[in-house]
């Protein structure tokens, strides 16, 4: 019996296929509205179809062959272009931010466009120790008051610092508000959502790119507690999106476009840290949703191209790829794992606290009148930051430079306050001569106090800064907090080892007079732990930091800290900051990482439930155009199951609302004789109608004849798995072959919110 059906059907529908193929596609069918979710399966099928067409035509002429070659290579072309553009933009941003940052303190007399360091390069009057001071570089006090020292000039400099910081912040927030509201924030939560298949038009557009690039420079220079690393990922994704418009293969297919975006985000991290492999793993672990192996390879390529462009631009002036290049000379000892794990605990606690506090603040901003004055808020935060930051040298300086200083080990050439140890030989305060651990000098004690204050300051300000309407990354502030804490712990352990070298742990490992504790390593471990606590990244974070040092040696401390930090953080809430912001914004994001552990079945989640109106279905051959339009107008569903008849409830297929509307309009415009009373049919052949009835409307071409179905008994964990892995938008629920209901991505998200006692109405979009 089933055999017979199959056979009959086969004969019939091979002609179907032919007819469908000949029918012209209706323009607009298969595109998406803003704030809707794409159907990955359909997009991928569309791409394979396009590919087959090109392949079939390939042998027709040399022109078609060239086109097919171009098509095959366009993937590489677009990632190359993206890599080039990301690298170039990153270089530009680095250089401009450096320059603007120094403008807050002074100006280069012989060349306005030089930053402090470049200004003093030309000067040959400076010794190495005073390499920051040169006559060409004038502080504002020096320029306006004519004197560099004294309380008057200090106040003048303080005032100018605040003035510039406020100006930059004001300009940044105004530009964002007026020209490109999407340019604010780090962009990573939205990119994660977009990569998971959501449409946000304009989020990766050229205006966003332009304004984000400019305002990122301004925001960084304004001295706010933010970094440029997250926004660089957004900038790179904008580049990827814009270049993908050059190639129809990517511009017309939302799934393929997301492959380019995955590669672009790898390029973004690659230029942010100079860590191409880390960038690829970041894209894989943190942001991407659909990551085929081909994308892995192209991401790697894009990341490399971007890194090499950045290196050629050489914005850090050290011809290194890496933002914080460090080399340590001493190994670490097993007992040091204890402080490293403690740093991990600190990182986890900080991450959990930051996420809770920041989300609470952002929710407050969203729900109260307070959020209506974003410009005032930015000015206010910038003013407080500038006023508090200036007196403390560790908060006044650029955060990246602070991190670099904290990471760097004290060597004979290091002149910073942090390295002012008392030399053992003569007891006087002096620069270290060799490496052994030494008692801390007064400089170190001062530095410790200032670092403690800086730590508190950074912790508070970062909570209020992330979420402002300016481009704001979280990597650098988090790393700074961790690096400060790590350096403090490192110096403490070092001094402990010096004064108590008879303790068992130290006696075992640290000989007197040899160097055994590296405070810089502690800073690095702390930075990784704090970043891990906030973002809950694991492998990619370790690899990024590994690429900074280049030594496998230090992977174990890093792993210990990052793992501890993740576990401690997870104990307070499993979501990282990006997932929390996604949830705060109500984006329909189905996280691939969090496991669905409940025992609910599909029938408990599907609509309609008991209290709902019955499921809106279409029958395959007995509706009129008018009835169809009534169904469409009276409901707001995005699609409708098509069934054989109301009695049998047997499922035929699924038709999208958007496609039906477009198809009816198109038919009215083009086909003669389509009236409100015309019969609509989804079957292969028109139903037999009375002679006087108007011409029927055939909608089979917009019918999806392979809708995904599950039975009502299917555990939700399997349903969630299917949605995640196949990237579905909806799934129909059947019982013994009869249609029962429908489950959409939104239903699943709402159900998951319910199970975790959250507000299910939080999920806003479809």
């Amino acid at each position: 019996m089933p055999l017979l059906v199959g056979f009959m059907y086969r004969v019939v529908s091979s002609t179907t296929h032919l007819l469908d193929f000949l029918e012209e596609p209706i323009p607009g069918v298969g595109t998406y509205d803003d704030f809707h979710t794409i159907d990955w399966v359909r997009e991928k099928c569309k791409d394979r179809e396009r590919h087959r067409k090109i392949n079939a035509k390939k042998k027709e002429s040399a022109w078609e062959f060239t086109k097919s070659l171009y098509d095959a290579w366009s993937g590489w072309l677009v990632v190359t272009l993206t890599g080039l553009a990301s690298g170039a933009l990153a270089g530009l941003i680095d250089i401009s931010a450096d320059w603007l940052n120094d403008i807050k303190e002074g100006v280069c007399l012989n060349a306005m466009w030089f930053n402090h360091e470049q200004c003093c390069w030309g000067s040959n009057e400076t010794t190495f120790a005073e390499r920051d001071k040169c006559p060409q570089w004038k502080s504002w006090a020096g320029l306006i008051l004519g004197q560099e020292e004294g309380p008057g000039s200090y106040i003048m400099n303080y005032f100018m610092y605040i003035y510039w910081a406020l100006s930059f912040a004001l300009l940044a927030v105004l530009l964002v508000k007026v020209f490109a509201p999407y340019a604010c924030g780090s962009g990573i939560p939205e990119i994660k959502t977009i990569l998971s298949g959501f449409i946000i038009r304009g989020y990766l557009g050229k205006w966003t790119l332009l304004i984000k690039t400019v305002t990122l420079v301004l925001a960084v220079a304004s001295g706010l507690s933010l970094g440029k690393e997250g926004p660089l990922v957004h900038v790179a994704c904008c580049c990827g999106n814009i270049f993908s418009y050059l190639f129809p293969k990517y511009s017309k297919n939302e799934a393929k476009k997301r492959e380019v975006l995955s590669a672009a985000s790898a390029a973004g991290v690659s230029v942010a840290f100079g860590a191409p492999i880390g960038g690829v793993l970041f894209s894989l672990e943190e942001v991407s949703y659909y990551f085929p192996l081909k994308t892995l390879w192209r991401s790697f390529f894009a990341a490399l191209v971007a890194a090499f462009v950045l290196r050629s631009i050489n914005p850090f002036g050290n011809s290194r790829l890496v933002l914080f290049y460090v080399e340590y000379h001493t190994p670490w000892y097993l007992f040091e794992l204890i402080p490293f794990i403690l740093l991990g605990v600190f990182g986890g606690l900080w991450g959990a606290f930051f996420i809770k506090a920041n989300i609470a603040w952002c929710r407050r901003r969203k729900s109260t009148r307070f959020g209506k004055y974003p410009v005032l808020e930015v000015i206010f935060v910038a003013a407080i930051t500038a006023v508090v930051a200036f007196p403390n040298p560790y908060t006044r300086q650029n955060t990246s430079e602070l991190i670099k200083e904290l990471f760097t080990d004290c060597g004979p050439l290091e002149s910073s306050q942090l390295c002012q140890y008392r030399s053992q030989m003569n007891g006087s305060k002096a620069f270290v001569d060799a490496s052994p651990n030494k008692p801390a000098g007064s400089g170190v004690y001062t530095a410790m106090w200032q670092l403690c204050l800086a730590l508190v300051f950074k912790i508070i300000m970062t909570i209020f800064t992330f979420g402002l309407k300016v481009p704001a990354g979280l990597f650098i502030p988090s790393m700074a907090i961790g690096a400060i804490a790590g350096r403090i712990v490192g110096i403490a352990v070092e001094q402990l080892a010096y004064y108590h070298h008879d303790w068992l742990v130290f006696r075992e490992w640290c000989e007197v007079g040899t160097d055994c504790i590296t405070p810089g390593l502690y800073a690095m471990v702390g930075a990784a732990a704090c970043l891990g606590g906030v973002t809950r990244m694991t492998v990619s974070l370790v690899v990024i930091v590994f690429e900074l040092t280049g030594g496998l040696e230090y992977i174990v401390p890093l792993m210990a800290a990052v793992m501890t930090s993740k576990w401690v953080g997870d104990a307070f809430g499993r979501e990282g900051i990006y997932e929390s912001h996604i949830r705060l914004n109500g984006y329909p994001f189905l996280d691939a990482k969090s496991e669905f552990t409940h025992t609910t079945l599909a029938r408990e989640v599907m609509r309609p439930q008991r209290s709902d109106p019955p499921l809106a279905v279409l029958t395959q051959d007995d509706l009129t155009v008018e009835e169809l339009q009534v169904i469409i107008n009276e409901t707001s569903y995005n699609g409708f199951p098509v069934i054989v008849s109301k009695e049998s409830q047997r499922l035929v297929g699924f038709a999208l609302r958007r496609d039906i509307t477009i198809a009816i309009e198109n038919a009215r415009r083009k086909q003669e004789g389509i009236l409100l009373t015309s019969r609509v049919y989804f079957t292969q052949h028109a139903p037999t109608l009375p002679a006087d009835s108007p011409r029927p409307l055939k909608l089979r071409s917009i019918l999806d004849m392979s809708p995904f179905t599950v039975t009502d008994h299917t555990p939700m964990e399997i349903v969630v798995d299917i949605f995640r892995k196949l990237g579905l938008r909806q799934c129909l629920v059947t019982h013994n072959g009869r249609l029962l209901g429908i489950i959409t991505k939104k239903d699943i998200l709402r159900h998951m919110a319910q199970l975790t006692n959250q507000d299910p109405d939080n999920i806003m979009f479809n």
Copy 2:
């Protein structure tokens, strides 16, 4: 109407659920036969169920809480143990192979168990240049004939070399044949298949581990053209499998066990090359099928642990993690991309040729009588290898050492023949004094000839060696071939640059008297290209080689070569050597990498087709035990769809043959009154039966009520995607809610073989 059904059903089945839960599970249900495919979805559900049970019990007592903690940590514990064991075994294998390899040439007089290098360490009579010669180390000729020089001793050494090589090979093949036939080969094709969800009992067992470890040492020492890197992955996976038996979470769940195996294979590559990150990417790119992020993190951990254990054992005596540690001091120039790409072309051609030739030879071995004498074959190949290899110093030495020598740049301390350049100053043959490019001396010319011969020899022997019944890896021979070719090209370019420094390309970049070509880099690029051509690995290969050098600098040449090699290789056939061997062995492996590009629909692939007997289905409540047994005995299917009735053909669920058999046996043994005439029912409640009928048999507990279904119109590309991503074993095909047929993994593989004009009967297992 559907609402009503849903509602009614709901009330009924909430009790069902309760009842099902109370029923005791039937022992044996849910396990698999040998050479069968697992059902990933079911396994994952089972694990979540187990997890929920443990979580629910957690708060009952301290003991349960401890158990839940143990369960949560067992994943980390098992990967740690696996990493430790893999590292230790790799160290053991390295040391033993080194020692056995030197036994072929001579013996250490004062300590038999020292290899050549260790033997001469203690000696203080040797100069640096003659560090290989010391009185304690006696060649066989020296020991037996009492003289080290002269034709007699050469022949004696030759003879002893062949003798030992044959002895080792014979011992290896006998051990494999008698004790563990699964220990032969590289094991990677089988591990890929196992990770994709296939069951091969004993393949990763303790006997295989023991025999593979021992015979791997023997096979490497026998001088055959094989490496130990691939088998190390097998050894690591055996460790992972064995340790997973300590933890019920992993031993009782085939899907979870495969997570451990993924981590183990990362650890294997990590110790093979000293490249932990490369190992993780290898596991991700090449071998793994289901790779959740948790596995990524644990793989990384296992790889690191294994690498550190290996480093502590320090088998290479240089306290380096890395097998071939190299440092280059000169950058590469843009024009060098041309020879690099040429090396890529060579690698691709070699890969394609090797795959075709090796598969043809293996197929011949399988199909003719020749394959019946594996021991003779090994002896024969080993004899030829030994006879031909001895006279040429580049084939006589250990292949890893050869690669190391070829990678290493000529420096002032390098005494090898390859570095005998004529010094420019006095024109005499001398060791190089500084780095500039120089004319080649006679040593280099001799070396070039010997390398050419070695290249031909390696190419021929590798084809016949891979597939022998001894453990045999392909990485090292492939890399050796590439390194030889690369070094030859490198020296050629170098000499070209020296003699034609007025050519435009060289004038631009190479100043006279400066070093501009690094032949060692060419060797490395060639090695990567050849390995890429054979395995078609991309990112992981580049990262592995990157970890050898540690410089981002050289990633671009590597990428250019590896990409070219992959494209050239793919032009001749898209399958790598491992996929080819999988297909040769007929394993049911659905490659996640190759795209399905055809336009067939599900109904063209499903069974039954027109000429087939009708689909074997069970009805939900009108079969007797006898009828059921007849159906089971008359068919060989692994499972049967259960339908409402023959008339409606509406699908209820799916029952597995194995489960039905077990359930019937179990019921006969335990339940009274189950006769051949007993009615079998899969419904919630027993059907109403006449009063005198025997007690019915309820089989609902073994019924999968959420079988996967697709419609007959679903394009096969989507079906293949579903099978791959969800790891299905079978999928039912419906049309308008009626059951039409079934598609199994085997059907898909057969269909794919048909579409590419291969023998569909090649797919052997279910």
